[in-house]
């Protein structure tokens, strides 16, 4: 008679372990790399960033809320997938000898932490948007717009920083050295920011200007890139 192990179930309580940064448990998760846990983390990323995206886009239009709820998780998942191979190669070259699955799992975990925080803040953001006047050219130049913009920056920065602190702690435990963990984190961050910024540029708008139509992609999505635009903006500033 063949004895079967009971099927593992998705356990949302694991998110608490992740947020608390229980390093011994997290180290075990990274070494085991189970598909069930990958699915849980991907689910948290889709829901957390999806809800936050919906709250962001809602101010512009309910349809924009739906679009942003789809696009925000897409950026996170595409960045993780697009840089997975590079990040797995950089880790051993910078002194952290972990296999592909473990580097992928560690990065996914850090994004899961950030997504859980964003998801938790999405009701607050939705409440702020609900209290704001309808988006119009006048509203964009007012204090409410600036406040919501700053609140978004603060929440996203807090979520990103916390995710990376957890990632740093995990890497330091895996590599046994803070110096190695720092090197790997900086390399991974640089790559993820570089690709993430461009993906955000392609998938714009997330809130959208009141003077422009609500759409999933701008017609110019694949014309130019984020860094060219920053460079041209800087040139304009210095030429004026």
């Amino acid at each position: 008679m063949i004895m079967r192990a009971p099927a593992e179930k998705l356990n949302p309580r694991e998110i608490g372990t992740l947020l608390r940064g229980e390093l011994a448990t997290l180290g075990g998760w990274i070494e085991q790399c189970s598909m069930r846990r990958f699915a849980l983390h991907a689910g948290v990323i889709i829901l957390g960033t999806g809800f936050y995206g919906a709250a962001m886009g809602w101010w512009r239009d309910p349809q924009q809320a739906l679009f942003t709820a789809v696009k925000f998780p897409l950026i996170i998942l595409l960045t993780t997938a697009g840089n997975a191979l590079l990040n797995a190669m950089l880790a051993p070259l910078l002194g952290l000898n972990i296999p592909f699955r473990q580097s992928f799992s560690a990065i996914l975990m850090s994004f899961t932490v950030a997504a859980a925080i964003l998801g938790a803040f999405s009701p607050v953001m939705a409440f702020m948007v609900w209290n704001a006047p309808p988006m119009s050219p006048a509203a964009v130049s007012g204090a409410t717009y600036s406040f919501i913009k700053l609140a978004n920056v603060a929440v996203i920065a807090f979520a990103g920083t916390t995710g990376n602190v957890r990632l740093f702690q995990t890497l330091a435990r895996l590599g046994g050295s803070k110096a190695i963990a720092f090197r790997v984190l900086v390399a991974w961050l640089a790559g993820n920011l570089f690709l993430g910024s461009q993906l955000s540029w392609i998938l714009r708008p997330f809130i959208g200007s009141p003077g422009l139509p609500v759409e999933f992609f701008r017609a110019t999505a694949l014309h130019g890139n984020f860094y060219e635009n920053v460079f041209q903006t800087l040139l304009q500033i210095f030429n004026d």
Partner: protein
Amino acid sequence: MNEPNPVPPQVPPQIPPVMASGSLRPLGDDPAERVPIPNIISAIDAILRHPRRVMFQLRQPGAGKLIAMMLLVSIVCSLIYGVVVGTFSGGTQLWAAPAKIAVGLMISALICLPSLYIFTCLSGSQARLVEVFGLLAGLLMLMTILLIGFAPVAWIFSQSTESLAWMGTLHLVFWFIATIFGLRFLEAGFSHSNARSHAGFHTWVVIFLLVAVQMTTALRPILGTANTFLPTEKQFFVSHWVDCLKAPAAAAKPGSPN
């Protein structure tokens, strides 16, 4: 049937460790470094995770097979990255760019191999030509597999920008980062060959970088398009880059609105 396996487990031959100068740990002192590298997957894994294993195996009899594997990986990876480079312009560049990148890389390495061997000997190194060649093949392999890691990012940008200057700069940055890691491997191997000084090696690095970037100009166009497969006039890479930066409108992606 629970008979004991009559074939004894294969134990790697006990080769004495290779002593290195200074305080460096001798190659082969870790038994894992003595395990032969039987196939391409092991070679890729070894150069990323256990570069000392590659360095040790390059000093053993039969290193030629390892060198051939590393060169094969370099060619395949540079062809794949070349296809990504070619997607910027499309058309004939889809096959021309991979061919030029793979050939250019191999020719650059061949051009620089004699000078690397001379500088190695002048530095007092005991490395044989085959070992130096093997280290250079290791540099190429590490560089090109890292370029494969950059390929998804390069492809995203290829599809979303029309600026030839921007894409050229991006590919150069990726190539430069990959080359730094490759050169780190080469220098680590060089350090284990009893060299008295690294000055010669550093001089060679400058030569290698200059040859490689000039090769991109000699084989132009790699990124953009032209009427001929190879350039009809000679140009130094600096003046070529300045020309590209000065003519952004003319140097745009074919079929772009600009």
